[in-house]
Amino acid sequence: MRILIVGGGTGGTILGNNLARRLAAELRSGKSKITMLSASDRHMYQPGLLYLAVGRMTPDELYRDQAGLLEPGIEFHVDPVEEFHLDQNQVRGKSGKTWDYDIIVIATGSRIVPETIPGLAENAETFYTEETALKMFKRLQRFDGGRVVITVGVPHKCPMAPMEITFLLHDYFKDRGILDKVKMHYTYPIGRMHSLENVAKWVQPEYDRLGITYETLFNMKEVDGANKVLKSEEGSDTPFDLLIAIPAHRGQEVIEKSGLGKGGWVPTHRQRLNVEGHDNAFVIGDTTNLPISKAGSTAHYQAEALGENIAAMVKLGTPVRDYDGKVFCFIEAGKDRATYAMFDYQNPPDPQPPSRAIHWSKLAYNKLYWASARGLL
């Protein structure tokens, strides 16, 4: 059985290692083969970008060598896929090589598309790439006060990032002694402060306590850079001196170009995680069109469920379990407090008051992530 994993991010890496352990005997005997194709020979811990943007991490802390994270039985190649041909059980890489498979897993992730909002890329700071996070930090260092607007596009990766960057910026300005010269304003696309109702109920009094103002039902339409005004689809304007954006995301271009899904999101069965209409093609992580959070933990739990199922398909000829929609997200509530949200398709989250202990757990996880990617956690 030839298993092809396209994408070497959180989901692809955890899945590959999970499968390599479950299929160790089959890999040794040559009955199974696991191949991973990725766009990079490096693996980034993406949540670290949040800390990079406020000077609490450095770029070298974000990366590990991808091959070094993988079980020895996995064949790894840097060859980003440029064409998917699911009906022929083939993909074509940038190298020109055709890769055949019996089972394929698509885990190509998502990307920011600030260019879809006129003026946003030119006038806003973002933190979803190493380059932009560093640029944001350098901008923050030069910032001496004024109105800071944090604005949120849809859909976006890491649902807690808008609140986390707001809390971290508050503490950054406080530590620099310029908080009294800063007015922070937060906008959110729907009619409350966060998509999770219980999180929204928690965050609103926190913002009130910190003097952070907010506007809900605010979806970015365009940025007037000359006048430093952000305009919304709903018809309101908000002025800014410093604009921090969580831009809208899309899946990778190759997904849409291959006809696998509008916007780069692949129609996916919510429990079995197969590409709709294909029994031997699966999707995990940001790439799915599922109505759940685009987050590393989502990819992690999906990878564990799918690893068990693909191993069972090899050994029994059939999958054995469903993915239940599980997501777990830490929520940094400043530089020294945090809470978390855990939920699935059936059960909403119930976040507890932030504490130092949960913050320390998050800091520990920033290091333990590498064990998680190896499939050890």
């Binding site: 879809t116 849809v154 859909p155 649902p159 696309p189 729907i190 009619g191 998509s195 999770l196 109702e197 039902l217 979806n219 689809e233 709903e234 018809g235 809208a248 509008k262 916007g263 919510r270 109505p291 759940i292 959070s293 929609g325 997501v327 949200a341 939920f343 398709y345 059936q346 909403p348 989250p349």
Partner: protein, 76 residues
């Protein structure tokens, strides 16, 4: 040519049905109808509220076996 698309947001706590609809609207063309499936009763109020504020068209809302089907039309 206008299309009719379904957004299956049943069981979605995060990002939730309205956020799924906003994302779907961005990928839709003028004239397309989008039917949101939601198990959150709050969608019956918050989706029409947003549609009205932005200026799209609310088509209908109905409930079947605990699932709300809310249909809207992209008008601009």
């Amino acid at each position: 040519m206008a299309e009719r698309r379904m957004i299956d947001a049943r069981g979605s706590f995060c990002p939730g049905p309205l956020m799924e609809l906003i994302a779907g609207m961005k990928l839709a063309s003028v004239g397309d109808e989008l039917e949101v499936l939601s198990t959150d009763k709050g969608s019956v109020a918050d989706i029409p509220q947003w549609i009205s504020k932005v200026g799209h068209e609310f088509v209908e809302s109905r409930e079947e076996n605990g699932v709300w089907h809310i249909t809207v039309k992209k008008t601009k």
